[in-house]
């Protein structure tokens, strides 16, 4: 018994004497639980190695037949050792470092892991569950399908999610750059890195192993070489990052890399892929039994964690790798009962048999050999996945039995074994046990050669169809261990060569990556105006309007808030409006092109309403445009449209090259609308400027100083009362607001929110783009023909399309309506004609001022006559409404002009 073992626990029973490069620290035992029972390992163990050392072999159960699963590759490539760790399902324990107190559980069993009740599917299910059996069963009676489905769903899936799970781990991201990024830190990768560094390039090496060295590390002598090479690379200035996973190889040298909870987003001038090889299993009956392992998996157990993998081993190999494993096994005191070198003779008839899922003997041509460990080594395949994802072709080299990447994308190179330089010659196509039962091709999905041949007989005779029908390669190993073997089985069964069969498309990610890491930090920025906290202090009920947070209202009665604006004085924060400065000698001419109406003739100091359309004449956004001076316009846009309008302007000017510049000032400036009969008096209290009806007329724009702050004031009337919209730097917003309130206290100033504003604008019949219009609305059918000026010297964007609408005639019209019965339709309520949908209500509110239910609706033109009747579905019943053209409140505009 090795030192460090704890008496009474099975912590270290199968540890060997200290190995030259072992990773465990025997002075530091680590305790954790497995299926609720205490287990010990050492620091430096992975969960998988600690469990194996403690004598545990069965870690989980397989997807379909619930066959026992345990360690196979010890490299994170296969998915046989997936377990639930601390409530997180599908963790590959062979590469997961052991943590003290970790709660480790098996997956996909009913009852106990050792005696899974569902393993009956393995004994009995075979004949009933060929590939795609679920497509042929449970069809009738249809009403029973939900029940069947429930059973199927419960049988599928691996680990269980914690329903109370939450994001607890902090993740971070970092943008990085390198001249050369080397993916794979084996001999070839490190050599290439050192060479590049010598040439003066900045070089980073990524490796998925616990340290760089790749294939060298499997070998005792190789470890020394690897560490010397790593030192040399570091000395040359190469940055080595391990363990780290290149998630994918995207265009223009973009490589996201996962390093624990850190996501590095690399851009590299050159990417060198040195990803080495993936060891391949052999296909024979019983090849998925516990104890049947890949050669480097066995060597890692011995050399990394000083574990004796078994007592008596059989080695079946198509290449040199199996023999190397045999050497290490012998050195570790494992008896080598038999070595079958597939290169020496015709592939024999091999079958592994076992008890309770563990291998107990190997039958070779009928002759039995007792064993508890089988090393299987098919010819290794270049690990070309990243290259194929990036767009390289993959061609089959029949002489060597490997798939080789060709036609590499730009600025991507490949070195070492991934290029097909896999070392010693192997048997090209080691498909064994082709005729036997339970020869597993795909361990993740429990698919056998028989299943694949069955699919072919059913007509799923191409690899892409087969993949989808049998689900081979679709499991968590992403085809690493089954892709090539499935192609071989197909080639053999269809008598076509592997190149004709082809490969399935390689997809990112390189290895399964947690969504939490990719998501980054949990929250996205939310937008708040500079008056946000003031609104909260005033009791504002904040609501989400897109990314913005805005006060809905400041109490329970938005109607009363609206009434207060009619009667006295209201302030609303409209800082969310888009604010774009358009400046340059061509500014006016530019706006003439993007807007249907004319702005070049707008007088300095005046404003004009504008609606933007796309080139298909569809309404995009609206706002007020003010002319500041000859060359400068101040354009406002809707709260959600600001970025889109700015983009739209710059996009068009990239075509027109006009002498005009744009600045998006949306966040930089705050805006407050001061409205109501007392608005003028309020402004006169806080400003020395002329706010008189003559000096500051309706639709004027003026530079004024309010509360000591120089600002732009627009006299506009969205809410239908005398009002001034003040635009000024955001940091001064609270000061300006507070000053107006304080100085005008006797004028009864009150804040009003978005909801009262909606009532007020509806009383005026003002539209809200996106609510009263949709993505197909045009100016004519939205009842804004007065905006269309087709006599401009340059065709405005959308002119042609709007003319087409004019030519065809209007099908719809946006109109106002009131509800004579007082019945309140919902917004979106359907206008019905003969029981059929024929138009809709776009806005509706109760107006206290008018004592009526009023709204806007899109009606067939025939119905859109003032005073006309139409029906809207209200609570499922057609309910009469009356058309009202023009504003409901102050139709002559006397209030706004007062």
């Amino acid at each position: 018994m090795a030192s460090g073992a704890l008496p009474g626990r099975i912590g270290a029973v199968s540890r060997l004497d200290p190995q030259p490069h072992e990773r465990i620290d025997r002075s530091k035992p680590v305790s954790f639980t497995f299926e609720g029972k205490a287990v010990d390992g050492f620091e430096g163990d992975t969960i998988g190695s600690a469990l194996y050392a403690s004598g545990r072999r069965v870690f989980s159960r397989s997807f379909k037949y619930h066959r026992p699963r345990g360690l196979q590759c010890c490299s994170g490539h296969c998915a046989n050792c997936q377990m639930t760790v601390d409530g997180i399902p599908n963790v590959r324990v062979c590469t997961t470092p052991l943590r003290s107190g970790a709660a480790v559980k098996g997956q996909n069993y009913v009852g106990s892991l050792e005696r899974d009740l569902m393993q009956a599917t393995d004994k009995l299910g075979g004949p009933f569950t060929p590939p795609g059996f679920y497509y042929k069963t449970f069809i009738r009676p249809r009403k029973l399908w939900p029940l069947y489905e429930k059973i199927l769903r419960n049988a599928a899936g691996l680990g269980k999610l914690d329903p109370a799970g939450a994001r607890t781990e902090r993740v971070d991201g970092e943008y990085r750059h390198a001249d050369v990024l080397v993916l794979g830190g084996g001999q070839a990768g490190l050599d290439a890195a050192i060479e590049a560094a010598a040439g003066g390039e900045s070089v980073v090496v990524i490796d998925e192993g616990p340290e760089v060295g790749g294939g060298l590390l499997a070998d005792r002598a190789g470890v020394t070489t690897a560490r010397a090479l790593a030192d040399k690379a570091r000395a040359a200035g190469v940055e080595l990052i391990a363990p780290a996973i290149a998630i994918g190889l995207f265009e223009q040298g973009f490589v996201p890399v996962a390093v624990g909870n850190l996501l590095l987003k690399f851009r590299a001038e050159r990417v060198i892929v040195a990803a080495g090889i993936v060891e391949q299993p052999l296909v024979f009956p019983g090849n998925d039994l516990i104890g049947v392992m890949l050669p480097d998996g066995v060597r890692r157990l011995i050399n990394y964690w000083s574990i004796k993998p078994g007592e008596r081993a059989v080695v079946i190999t198509a290449d040199e790798r199996g023999l190397k494993a045999a050497e290490d096994l012998e050195a570790a005191g494992v008896e080598i009962a038999k070595v079958i070198d597939l290169r020496e003779a015709e592939p024999p008839n091999i079958e592994a048999r076992g008890r309770r899922g563990r291998v107990t003997e190997i039958h070779v041509n009928g002759q039995s050999t007792k064993c508890d460990l089988v090393v299987m080594s098919g010819s290794p395949q270049p690990n070309y996945k990243l290259l194929a994802q990036a767009g390289a072709r993959v061609a089959y080299d029949s002489a060597r039995g490997i798939f080789v990447p060709t036609d590499l994308p730009e600025n991507v190179e490949a070195v070492g074994a991934v290029t097909g330089d896999v070392g010693t010659p192997a048997v090209p196509s080691p498909v064994l046990g082709y005729k036997g039962d339970k020869c597993f091709v795909c361990f993740c999905e429990d698919q056998t050669t028989k299943d694949l041949k069955y699919a072919i007989r059913e007509g799923f005779d191409s690899i892409e169809l087969s993949k989808r029908y049998t689900t081979v390669t679709m499991g968590p190993c992403q085809g690493r261990l089954c892709h090539v073997n499935s192609i071989r089985v197909y080639a053999k069964a269809t008598k076509l060569d592997e190149n004709t069969i082809g490969t399935t498309t390689a997809r990112p990610p390189y290895t399964p990556i947690s969504m939490g890491l990719l998501a980054g930090n949990p929250q996205e920025p939310k937008k708040r105006t500079s008056l946000h906290h003031l609104h909260k202090d005033l009791g504002g009920r904040m609501m989400w309007t897109g990314q913005w947070r805005r006060p809905h209202s400041y109490g329970d009665d938005p109607g009363a808030e609206a009434q207060h604006v009619h009667k006295a004085l209201g302030l609303i924060d409209v800082s969310t409006l888009g604010k774009i400065l358009v400046k340059g000698p061509d500014a006016g001419a530019f706006l003439d092109r993007v807007y249907p109406n004319r702005f070049s003739d707008l007088k300095v100091g005046r404003t004009r309403y504008g609606v933007l359309t796309g080139d298909a004449g569809r309404i995009m956004d609206d706002g007020v445009v003010a002319r500041i001076d000859d060359d400068t316009f101040y354009v406002s846009a809707t709260s959600t449209g600001a970025d889109g309008v700015y983009q739209w302007f710059t996009w068009w000017n990239a075509v027109w090259f006009m002498d005009v510049q744009f600045a998006n000032l949306t966040g930089a400036l705050a805006a407050i609308n001061v409205a109501g009969p007392n608005a003028r008096a309020a402004m006169e209290r806080v400003s020395g400027d002329d706010f008189s009806a003559e000096g500051f007329a309706y639709l004027d724009a003026k530079h004024v100083t309010v509360a000591g702050v120089p600002m732009l004031a627009l006299r506009i009337g969205f809410v239908g009362e005398l009002g001034y919209e003040l635009h000024f730097p955001s940091p001064l917003a609270e000061h300006v607001w507070d000053t107006i309130i304080a100085e005008g206290a006797d004028l009864d100033p009150k804040p009003f929110g978005l909801e009262p504003q909606r009532i007020l604008r509806l009383e005026k019949g003002h539209v809200i783009i996106g609510q009263d219009t949709d993505s197909e609305s045009n100016l004519l059918e939205a009842a804004m023909p007065w905006l269309v000026k087709n006599d401009k010297e340059f065709d405005w964007v959308g002119k042609w399309a709007t003319q087409q609408v004019d030519d065809r005639g209007l099908n719809w019209l946006l109109v106002g309506f009131e509800s004579p019965t007082g019945a309140m339709p919902v917004e979106g309520g359907q206008v019905v004609v003969d029981g059929k949908s024929s138009g809709r209500v776009t806005s509706v509110r109760q107006s206290d001022e008018l004592g009526k239910v009023i709204g806007l609706a899109i009606l067939p033109t025939a119905l859109a006559v003032d005073g006309g009747r139409f029906d809207v579905q209200v609570n499922g019943k057609p309910t009469p409404m009356t058309v009202r053209l023009g504003a409901f409140y102050d139709p002559a505009g006397e209030k706004v002009k007062s």
Binding site: P89, N90, P127, P130, F133, Y134, Y135, I139, W145, E149, R153, A156, G157, L158, A164, G165, A166, I247, F250, F254, G391, D437, K450, R457, E458, G459, D461, R468, P476, Q478, T505, R507, P508, P509, P512, I513, S514, M515, G516, P522, E524, P525, T545, G546, Q771, D774, S775, E776, R808, N811, E827, G828, G829, Q830, V832, G835, K836, S837, R840, Q873
Partner: protein
């Protein structure tokens, strides 16, 4: 082992192309196959060839996120998709192939009051057509889908949702194979790995199709080629108002049943369901630029993960297994383009953008009727190509963009 299920081959490769077919359907996806199926079963037309340049279901039919629903916004769209859902409900039995149609309900989340209005409008349209669809508040969302996070301490708090109980997911490949199986049995030929290279056109009429495996003459050609439809139509000299963009999706590793609802958020640009195999299937909005490249982009994955975890933080350690793209043929009004074109005998079925799969059976029924009778069925009258000349578009953007 006795083959208790292996009674007949499901798919069969026909011999060489014949010299003449009454109907040639380009594209072996769900639409082409469905049309062939209804040509045979409703109209007895079986001298039909389906030409597929790759393998059946290799395009959008095998890349979509398998959501079936009828809760569209326009009366035209909703009436059309309603029939599609009803056909899908019967289809497993009809095709004798279990399509695993799992109808556990579809939620279109609203994160603002504006969005709630849009959902309300859809509900009103739907109700009038007898579609089971209504607006619920955040608490009801939580009641029906207890796994979801309705906290207000997130960027996009849930304000409510349009709930559509018959909405569901289906096994998309099974739809392709089920149709293919019955089409094959009806004697219709499915030619895979045959690419169309041109058309035989004279006097304003198409007379035949040129392919990589030889030329064939035919009475009618239907192009049901989704992402490639404008390329195929261009060969026939028919311009289409189509822009190709990619749409991306990914699946995670399988876990035990966690979510049986379909959750869609237009504002967060994601949709999420869990397949019968246990994988989460998550997709997003089309990429904002036109392309024929089928390469995925990484920012999409980051963005989709961030948003899914706002709704389901429990998935934080769930791992992405496979990420892919599909090519979408976007029409200007987010509604399909179906039927006759200016070239006699050349019919199109395109503009399906991100929502074609859910319409497969009704597309098949209506196009088969059009081919057999020569007259456009009323149900697809609004979707004529002609509408772009008469400007009578069907505005489906509000319910089609990211509302899978």
């Amino acid at each position: 082992m006795k083959d208790i299920f292996l009674k007949k081959q499901i798919l069969k490769r026909p011999d060489e192309l014949k010299r003449h077919y009454d109907v040639v359907i380009i594209g072996g996806g769900s639409h082409g196959l469905a049309t062939a199926y209804y040509l045979a079963t409703h109209h007895g037309i079986t001298n039909v060839a389906i030409l597929e340049k790759s393998y059946i279901g290799s395009g959008a039919a095998g890349r979509n996120t398998t959501i079936i629903r009828a809760n569209y916004r326009t009366p035209e769209g909703a009436a059309f998709y309603k029939q599609s859902v009803e056909l899908y409900e019967r289809l497993s039995g009809e095709l004798d192939f279990n399509l695993m149609f799992s109808q556990h309900g579809h939620f279109t989340l609203a994160h603002s009051d504006r969005s709630l209005v849009v959902q309300q409008e859809r509900a009103e349209v739907n109700k009038l057509l007898g579609i089971d669809s209504y607006v619920i508040d955040a608490k009801e969302v939580k009641k029906l889908c207890p796994q979801i996070n309705i906290s207000t301490d997130v960027t996009w708090p849930i304000q409510g949702a349009l709930y559509h109980p018959p909405g569901g997911i289906i096994r998309h490949d099974a739809v392709v194979w089920g149709f293919a199986k019955q089409v094959t049995r009806a004697g219709i030929e499915i030619h895979q790995n045959v690419e169309v290279t041109g058309f035989d056109i004279s006097n304003g009429r198409v007379h035949g199709v040129k392919t990589t495996k030889g030329d064939v003459s035919c009475g009618v050609v239907l192009s049901a080629t989704a992402g490639w439809s404008s390329i195929v139509a261009k060969m026939a000299g028919v311009p289409l108002p189509i822009i190709g963009s990619i749409l991306q999706a990914f699946v995670t590793e399988p876990v035990k049943p966690f979510l049986d609802k379909i959750i869609v958020s237009a504002q967060m640009h994601i949709y999420c369901s869990q397949t019968d195999r246990g994988e989460f299937l998550i997709g997003a909005e089309v990429e904002p630029y036109p392309t024929y490249s089928n390469k995925g982009t990484f920012p999409f994955v980051e963005y989709a993960c961030r948003h899914v975890l706002e709704l389901f933080p429990q998935l934080h350690a769930t791992k992405i297994l496979r990420h892919w793209t599909g090519l979408c043929d976007m029409s200007p009004d987010y509604s399909p383009i179906m039927g006759l074109t200016e070239l006699d005998g050349f019919l199109v079925d395109c503009g399906w953008g991100t929502y074609g799969f859910k319409a497969a059976p009704i597309v098949g029924v209506t196009l088969a009727e059009l081919i057999a009778k020569g007259k456009t069925p009323a149900l697809i009258e609004p979707f004529k190509l002609d509408r772009f000349y008469t400007d009578t578009l069907v505005s489906e953007a509000a319910a089609a963009a990211v509302s899978h």
